[in-house]
């Protein structure tokens, strides 16, 4: 029996509740929470970049908790094998049969910590799960759980001994979220919250109440996909992606996946804002997280000290907002 579809108001309420619950434990990272929620609503995956200790694991745990989802975590290391991600077949002496041992990828939310520390072979094992939503073990394909979302983290410092993600794999991530230090006030709140009446050094996700069920997530995704988008907005998103290909600061621009991700993310953003239609502002807001990992600066611009985000801001200032 299929679940009844949600109407817009219900969807907006549920999303807002999730947002509030997560913000109770993940202090001072509201934009990051929003972007992760957007990626989940838009059935995308997130690449999170930030220095250690800013609550990336906590965020994933909190998200999993608020929809009662299964949470899996893999710490990527140089000796990690693809089967450590997906799982493997094991010979059972008793039954004289091969038994499939499912890897950590069989979960709703997979945290791939420091993904660039593993070699390309292991990284690409994630590709299939991310793109096809299925996991192949010993030639047999198993569907991934629904919803399924990968949150991969990268450390911007300590690049030694890492394997930078190839362009094709980067393209698979819908958003690249930059996680930064909280503000002074937020950090004070965080310290108070952690040290008062608690012995552990990390915030516990116990405070989070499950506000939606795992089955609600596909329904929310469905509502998101139904958000109205005017042709002018489609045109705007495509123009942004296309102009990055000719933009002088970029050695290579964003592909068609960027346009698709831009619209999907803009839809989710509109839902988060409580609207049932997408405006050009939604597209413009999502342009940075959607595109920053899909473009590469030219060597000259890198030497000039230009950052990808700065170049994208310049590009957005040049692309005309929708014509009507």
């Amino acid at each position: 029996m299929t679940e009844p579809t949600l109407n817009l108001t219900e969807a907006i309420q549920r999303v807002q509740r999730m947002r509030e619950q997560i913000a109770r434990v993940v202090v001072g990272q509201q934009p990051v929470i929003d972007q992760v929620l957007i990626a989940m609503l838009a059935t995308g995956h997130v690449l999170v970049e930030g220095v250690p200790g800013l609550g990336k694991t906590l965020l994933v745990k909190a998200l999993a908790k608020c929809f009662q989802g299964q949470f899996g975590r893999i710490q990527f290391t140089p000796d990690l094998m693809p089967s450590d991600v997906t799982g493997h077949a094991l010979y059972d002496m008793k039954s004289e049969q091969f038994k499939i041992r499912r890897g950590p990828a069989f979960c709703n939310l997979l945290l791939a910590d420091e993904i660039n520390r593993a070699p390309a072979k292991t990284q690409s094992a994630l590709l299939e799960v991310m793109q096809e939503k299925q996991i192949t073990i010993e030639g047999k394909a198993f569907p991934a759980l629904t919803p399924f979302m990968v949150l991969a983290t990268q450390n911007p410092i300590e690049q030694e001994g890492t394997y930078p993600l190839p362009e094709a794999e980067l393209d698979r991530f819908m958003l690249k979220v930059l996680i930064d230090y909280p503000s002074e006030q937020e950090e004070q709140d965080l310290v108070k919250q952690i040290t008062t009446g608690q012995v552990q050094d990390t915030l516990s996700v116990d405070a989070i109440e499950p506000v939606v069920s795992a089955t609600d997530i596909p329904r929310l995704q469905k509502v998101t996909a139904g958000i109205q988008v005017d042709d002018a907005v489609f045109d705007y998103a495509v123009r942004i992606a296309r102009s990055s290909r000719e933009w002088h600061s970029f050695a290579h621009g964003a592909g068609p996946r960027a346009s698709i991700a831009l619209i999907r993310a803009a839809r989710a953003h509109a839902l988060l804002e409580g609207r049932d239609f997408v405006t050009p502002d939604d597209v413009k807001t999502m342009a940075l997280p959607v595109m920053r990992h899909r473009v590469a600066l030219t060597a000259e611009m890198e030497i000039e000290g230009l950052k990808t985000d700065q170049a994208l801001q310049q590009l957005l200032q040049e692309v005309e907002a929708p014509r009507l």
Binding site: V233, F277, T279, Q314, A321
Partner: protein
């Protein structure tokens, strides 16, 4: 020495060309030169090595100290080879002991550490000069090429060092990997192999460098003599003379050629047939001749420092100008101490240059005033011409009807809701851009326009624009038409929005 038999082209060269020519010679006769060095030096090396078995560096030092002896043999060979190609190195080698031991004390003690050793060597070895005369001769020769001789020695020593390191490294890379694992480069210092290796490497380096060093110095010497004694001219006259003799030309031509030849051949010491006293007389005679007593008048400008009082009379005008400028500039600390005409010009020039620098700086500041980011693009100036199109809407004031509200209401009546609200929104933007000078551009979305309006405009105007934007967005992107009441409210509020007021 017969110049006509010289095997290189004689012409005045600069010192570096000369050294280069010397290197060409060294390459040409490298093997004979190497043998002439190795045959006396190698046995000595072996002998001294056996002698200082426990201190091999002493053996190397001994051979290094005796280097001038071996080099003098090389020098003799090269000097003879230059004028007579039939010379064999074996012949030179036979006389090696005589050549080497000639002036040995001078070579090994007095001259051993001379900076331009290879350049000096021919004076003692070939001209056979010593003592004070040698010193005078060297002084003359050094006047033009002394520093090159010094550099040649410096480069030669450096090259030896490099080669020692090279041979050393070559030995190092031949050590098998298995051994090298527990054989650190640092361990070489304490290794018993260190000093024997350095000794062998040093010996090879000296042998390889010496032909170049000797030939380079020798050609510097030859070149210096070419300059001093005009060898090239002498050679030309000799050739001329020879040609005429062979062709049996008239006696007069021959005499003339020979006459011309005489003065050039005189200064050459080897050709001198007169005694020292006689030559002094000849010189005195020549100096008394008319050639040295011609008086020639020349006129040229010369600066004469005029006395203080006379100066005022002579060039009063300039002086006055100078004094005036000096007085004017006196209080200026930049030009402290300006008192005379000359300094004023300098000061003026300085002022002009400073002015130029300041002007250049000002220009650069002006040129790159709006530079955003690292040298990429000029920011739009605060009052850049407003865009004529925004969101595809034409925003010229001329394109709008006179009475906006009436026109919008007319469209509304005709059921053209979208066009009606579009007209209001377009008129509002046009008003904000042209009348309120809001810095809107074509990349601004509706919300960005609204934010700018709320930031810069009065609250009532901001609220109206917010309301209008809300309805416009809902209509345009959600395809949700507004009610007639809402539209009427917008139309009613329009005159307040459109009203001119003094800019904040």
């Amino acid at each position: 020495m017969d110049l006509s038999k010289i095997s290189v082209q004689v012409r005045p060269r600069n010192p570096y060309e000369a050294v280069d020519l010397g290197f060409v010679m060294a390459r040409q006769w490298f093997m004979p030169l190497l043998w002439l060095w190795l045959i006396p030096a190698a046995p000595l090396m072996v002998l001294s090595y056996l002698l200082f078995m426990d201190q091999p560096l002493w053996a190397l030092l001994l051979v290094w100290w005796l280097k001038p002896l071996f080099e003098s043999v090389q020098l003799r060979y090269i000097s003879e080879k230059l004028f007579d190609d039939r010379i064999r190195w074996q012949d030179t080698l036979r006389q090696a002991h005589k050549i080497a031991l000639h002036q040995w004390f001078s070579k090994l003690v007095i001259q051993r550490l001379a900076f331009s050793r290879s350049f000096n060597m021919p004076v003692g070895e070939l001209e056979q000069l010593h003592g004070r005369r040698r010193g005078q001769r060297l002084e003359t020769l050094h006047r033009g090429a002394g520093s090159s001789g010094l550099w040649l020695t410096a480069v030669g020593n450096t090259l030896e060092g490099v080669l020692v390191f090279g041979v050393f490294s070559l030995a190092w890379i031949f050590i098998p990997m298995e051994m090298a694992i527990d054989f650190d480069f640092d361990m070489l210092y304490s290794s018993p192999l260190l000093f024997p290796t350095i000794t062998v490497a040093g010996f090879i380096a000296m042998a390889l460098v010496s032909p170049f060093y000797v030939c380079g110095g020798f050609m510097l010497y030859i070149n210096r003599r070419t300059w001093l004694e005009a060898w090239d001219i002498e050679l030309t006259f000799r050739q001329l003379s020879n040609e005429h003799q062979q062709r049996g030309k008239s006696l007069a031509t021959l005499v003339m050629a020979l006459l011309l030849l005489v003065p050039f051949t005189l200064p050459q010491p080897t050709k001198a047939q007169v005694t020292r006293e006689e030559s002094q007389l000849i010189i005195a005679e020549i100096l008394e001749s008319d050639d040295f007593h011609q008086i020639k008048e020349e006129q040229r400008w010369r600066w004469i420092e005029p006395p203080e009082d006379a100066a005022a009379e002579e060039d009063g005008m300039f002086k006055d100008l100078g004094k005036w400028l000096a007085d004017k500039l006196e209080g200026w600390t930049l030009f402290d101490g300006i008192s005379d005409w000359y300094s004023v010009i300098v000061a003026l020039l300085e002022a002009i240059l400073w002015g130029l620098v300041i002007a250049l700086f000002a220009y650069l500041v002006y040129r790159f005033r709006g530079l955003r980011g690292p040298g990429l693009k000029l920011k739009q100036a605060a009052h850049a011409p407003p865009p004529s199109h925004l969101f595809g809407l034409e925003l010229n004031q001329d394109s709008l009807p006179e009475d906006i509200v009436a026109a919008a209401q007319a469209l509304w009546q005709q059921q053209q809701f979208r066009q009606a609200v579009s007209l209001l929104y377009r008129a509002a933007l046009t008003f904000l851009i042209h009348e309120r000078h809001l810095p809107l551009n074509s990349s601004h979305t509706e919300q960005e326009c609204l934010r700018l309006c709320l930031k810069h405009e009065s609250p009532p105007r901001g609220q109206f624009f917010q309301e209008l934007t809300r309805h416009w967005i809902a209509l345009a992107y959600a395809h949700r038409p507004l009610s007639s009441e809402d539209f009427d409210r917008l139309c009613a509020a329009w005159p307040d929005f459109d009203q001119q007021e003094p800019q904040p």
